[in-house]
């Protein structure tokens, strides 16, 4: 009989399952326990950012359509886009060390930039200022909870 065939067939004796002598699940469960919570937190932030952007875009479209019929600037204070952008400088430099939080921070930064661009188009839209402030507040909260690298 061919030696190669003999080696392989005999060594296959060693193949097969070997259960651990103790149940490893409790320790595995303890080690992975943090992950789902982190994921939910990240998903929550991402969702919040998406909702903010979507709300901004929808509202902007509605305002643009109805600009001829609804006077929006009558009571709203004038908005200076340049000074606002300077006050709310992007926090892109502050990327959290945890990759899960880093992804959420990117979502929020992206939302912030889009809102600022929308404000440049509609400087008198007060509701966009509110959305931008809430987005930046969330970004600051993220920064406080997840230290940057």
């Amino acid at each position: 009989m061919n030696h190669e065939f003999q080696w392989r067939s005999e060594m296959r004796k060693l193949a097969g399952d070997a259960q651990p002598q103790r149940d490893l699940w409790p320790q595995i469960a303890a080690r992975i326990a943090v992950r789902p919570a982190t994921s939910r937190w990240r998903m929550g932030l991402g969702l919040a950012a998406t909702v903010l952007v979507a709300a901004g875009v929808v509202a902007l479209a509605w305002r643009t359509q109805s600009a001829n019929t609804i006077p929006i600037a009558a009571t709203a204070p004038a908005y200076d886009a340049t000074s606002m952008a300077a006050d709310n400088a992007p926090l892109a430099w502050a990327v959290p060390a945890d990759p899960a939080f880093a992804a959420a921070s990117r979502d929020l930064d992206s939302a912030s930039v889009q809102l600022q661009q929308a404000l440049e188009q509609q400087p008198q839209a007060v509701f966009l200022v509110g959305l931008l402030n809430r987005t930046n507040a969330q970004r600051m909260r993220l920064l406080r909870q997840a230290p940057s690298v």
């Binding site: 030696h3 190669e4 080696w7 005999e10 070997a18 002598q21 490893l24 320790q27 595995i28 992975i32």
Partner: protein
């Protein structure tokens, strides 16, 4: 609701995601009745959604195979194999989102277990520094097999030098090709063949000396 408990008349069936007893439904079929690959795929989807109990079921279905492969690679060191099996499943939980269902979960998980053990072998650097030229020179001709009982074989394999043992186990037991072994262990294909030849020679000598 406990597994197998009958529904009371008028009671709506529980939502699949609320069932933690291994009977979560996939298109109306209980996990236990699905083919293994489909059952794993259903459990993976639930685990990706953050359901740790689904991942526990995956662990229970695959721990034996993964631990077996790791145990052989680390030379039957049970404590170390158990640590590495834990590491492999923790890594699997973290990487589960990137699992694309292109291969069976069992294959993916087995590979992850093997990689975890090989990474540990690389970190520990226990290998005796055998010159690759010396190995290549030794790789002539076939080594006749020496029959042995499983227990003797296990002990002899466990006593082999780390790298030779890893190549022997990957090739002869786990069914890896030399190209795959060379990629996993960062060596030339020729070195993998030479290490296999060396391992078989050492094994044969050890079994003959019993």
């Amino acid at each position: 609701m406990a597994a197998g408990e009958a529904l009371k008349p008028g009671t709506p069936p529980p939502h699949p995601s609320s069932r933690m007893d291994g009977l979560a439904l996939t298109a109306g079929v209980p996990i236990a009745e699905l083919p293994a690959r489909d059952a794993d795929a259903a459990l993976v989807r639930r685990a990706v959604g953050g359901e740790a109990t689904a991942f526990e079921q995956l662990y229970r279905r695959h721990a034996g195979r993964v631990h077996g492969a790791i145990l052989r690679l680390v030379g039957m060191d049970r404590a170390r194999a158990e640590e590495l099996t834990q590491d492999a499943f923790v890594q699997a939980w973290r990487k589960l989102g990137s699992f694309r269902h292109e291969s069976a979960f069992s294959t993916w998980m087995h590979r992850l277990g093997v990689n975890t053990a090989l990474m540990d072998l690389r970190i520990r650097r226990e290998e005796d520094a055998t010159d690759s030229d010396e190995l290549l020179a030794a790789a002539g001709g076939e080594v006749p097999f020496c029959a042995a009982e499983r227990g003797d074989l296990e002990r002899a394999v466990a006593a082999l030098p780390t790298r030779a043992r890893a190549v022997l186990v990957l090739h002869d037991v786990e069914g890896f090709k030399h190209e795959e072994i060379s990629a996993e262990l960062g060596m030339a294909v020729g070195s993998s063949k030479a290490q296999l030849h060396r391992a078989r020679g050492l094994l044969r000598r050890a079994l003959a000396d019993r």
